[in-house]
Amino acid sequence: MTSRIPAGMRYYIGAEARLRRKVEDVAMSVFESWNYEEVITPSVDYYDLFEQGMGQREAQRGFRFTDSDGHLLALRPDVTSSVARMAATLLSDRPRPLRFCYAAPVFRQQTQSHAEWRRENTQLGCELIGVEGKPADLEVLRLAAEILSRLELRSKYCITINNVEIFNGIAAYLNLEPRPREELRRLIDTRQGAELQQFLQDCGAGEARAFLRPTQLTGKRDVIQVARSVITNARSVAALDALEELWTAIESHGLEDSFEIDLGDVSSLDYYTGLSMKVFVHGAGSSVGRGGRYDGLTGSFGRAEPAVGFVLNLDALTEVLARANQ
C-alpha cells in the first residue's frame, strides 16, 4: 500500500466538491437551454482515434497502454475526437445540425505547461456539427459567454477570438516550408517582436508586418483595421472579413466588453480551420478554456462536414471560484 498520490491528481472534499458540482450544473443547464443533448463517450479508446482527432503532438500527451490483442489504447485525452467519430459513423443518418454537450474527465500524462499541473481535468464542452460559418460560431461564443456570466465571473473573464486562416494565408503567400512556417508560428505565438523582425527581414515579407508589433495584435475592432493595412493575400483577407463580421455580431449582442480579438493566437493551427477561441479568467494564470472550428475533423472519419465547439476546464474554474470565496 502506498500513501502517495500520483502527480497531477487530487481529491475534492465537501464544500469544494459541492462547488465543483454547482459549476458543472450551471454549464450543463445552459447547454440544455440551447438544445444541446448530453453525450457520454468511452473513457478508453484506441490511441489512433485521438491521433487522428488531435494530431500526434497532442495525442502523445495521453496515458497509453495496450489491449489484450496488442492494440494501443489511450485514456481519453479529449472528447471531441470521439464525438466527431460518432457523428460521422453511428449518427451519419441523423438530420443535421447535431448539438452535443458533455461533462467528462480527460487525462494527460504530460501537461502543456508548468502552471497546468493537473493531469486529470473535467471538460465542460459542446460541439455543433453540420452548420457552417458565422451563425454557428456566434452560437458557441454566446454559449460560452452565458456560462461564464452565470458563474458570476462577469467582467472578470475575457474570450479571445481569432481566425487561423489569417496566418495560414500569409504562410501560403510566403511559400514557407514546414520548418520556417513552424518557426514563424512560434515567434508569433510567444510575441517575440525582435526575433520576428529578423525572421521577416530574412524572408522579405511585407504581408507579415501585421504581426510585428506585439501590442497591436490584441484589442477590439481596430486590430482588424491595422491588419488590413498590410495584409493583401485573398485567403487572409477573406478570414479578416469573416472575423470582422463575427465581431459585428458580437457587438450587436452587446458582448464586446467580454471579447477581444487576438491575431497572435496561433497555438493550435493543425486542429482548427477557421475560428479559434481561448477563455481567460482573473485568478487563473493560464487559459481555462479553448475552442474553435474544426471542419477537417469529421472528414477523417468518412463524412466531411462543418463543426465548431469549445471546452471549459471545470477544475480550473472551480479553483478560481473557491479562492474568490475564501
Partner: protein
C-alpha cells in the same frame, strides 16, 4: 496594478534603470531596503525581486504579470510565456567551453558536460546527435574540466576572463542572451491595457 518580477543579481540594476527611463521609478529608500516586494512611486506597479530561475515560475503561474529575466534562464526553464521585448540589457553569451580549442572535432563516443543549464546543454548536443552525460552543478562550473569531472562546460560568458583564468576557451557559441520582458498569457489578455502601456513605455527606451 500589475506585478513585475525582477531577477536579482546581474539583471537587477540594468532593469531598474531601464524602467526608470521609462518613467517607472522606485524610491532610493525602497531599493535600499531589504523588502522583497515594493510599490513604485505612482502605485501602478508592484515589484518583486526573486532568484533568476524563480522569475519564470512566478510569471507562468500568473502571480507576477510580467518579469525581467535573462534569455538563458527562459531557455532553461522552458516556461510557456510571451516574450514581447528584448531589453538589450545584461548582454552575454551561452557557450560551450573546453581546455582544448579543437575539442569539438575530437569528440568520440560520449562527452561529459558540466553545467547549470542542463536543458540547454542536452538540447544543443542532442540536436546534433552527440551523446552527452550532463553533470548538473549549481556554481563554479569552470572548475569541472580542470578537476576531471567533465570534458566540457556549458555556461554563461560575459567577458571571458573567468574562462581564461581557469584554462578554458570557447569552442562553440550556443546563443546570445539578454534581458527579456516576459508576460503571463492570461495577464496579457485580462490586463491588456496595463501590459500594453508597460510594453510601449519600455519599447521607447530600449
Amino acid at each position: 496594478m500589475i506585478t513585475i518580477a525582477i531577477a536579482k543579481g546581474r539583471m537587477q540594476e540594468g532593469a531598474l534603470s531601464l524602467l526608470a527611463r521609462a518613467g517607472i521609478r522606485l524610491s532610493d529608500e525602497a531599493v535600499n531596503s531589504r523588502r522583497l516586494a515594493l510599490m513604485d512611486e505612482t502605485g501602478q506597479y508592484r515589484f518583486i525581486f526573486a532568484k533568476p530561475a524563480d522569475v519564470p515560475v512566478y510569471v507562468e503561474h500568473g502571480i507576477a504579470d510580467c518579469g525581467v529575466v535573462g534569455r538563458d534562464v527562459l531557455l532553461e526553464s522552458q516556461a510557456d510565456l510571451l516574450l514581447p521585448l528584448d531589453l538589450g540589457i545584461a548582454r552575454c553569451r551561452i557557450v560551450v567551453a573546453a581546455a582544448d580549442a579543437q575539442a569539438m572535432t575530437k569528440v568520440q563516443g560520449m562527452i561529459r558536460v558540466a553545467t547549470k543549464y542542463s536543458q540547454i546543454a542536452s538540447a544543443h548536443f542532442g540536436a546534433r546527435g552527440i551523446p552527452v552525460e550532463i553533470i548538473q552543478l549549481s556554481g563554479s562550473v569552470e572548475l569541472a574540466p580542470a578537476l576531471g569531472l567533465a570534458d566540457m562546460i556549458v555556461d554563461l560568458v560575459e567577458t571571458g576572463v573567468t574562462l581564461r583564468e581557469n584554462g578554458l576557451t570557447v569552442v562553440e557559441e550556443i546563443a546570445e542572451s539578454t534581458g527579456r520582458l516576459a508576460v503571463n498569457r492570461a495577464s496579457y489578455q485580462l490586463k491588456s491595457y496595463e501590459v500594453g502601456r508597460l510594453v510601449k513605455a519600455l519599447e521607447a527606451v530600449v
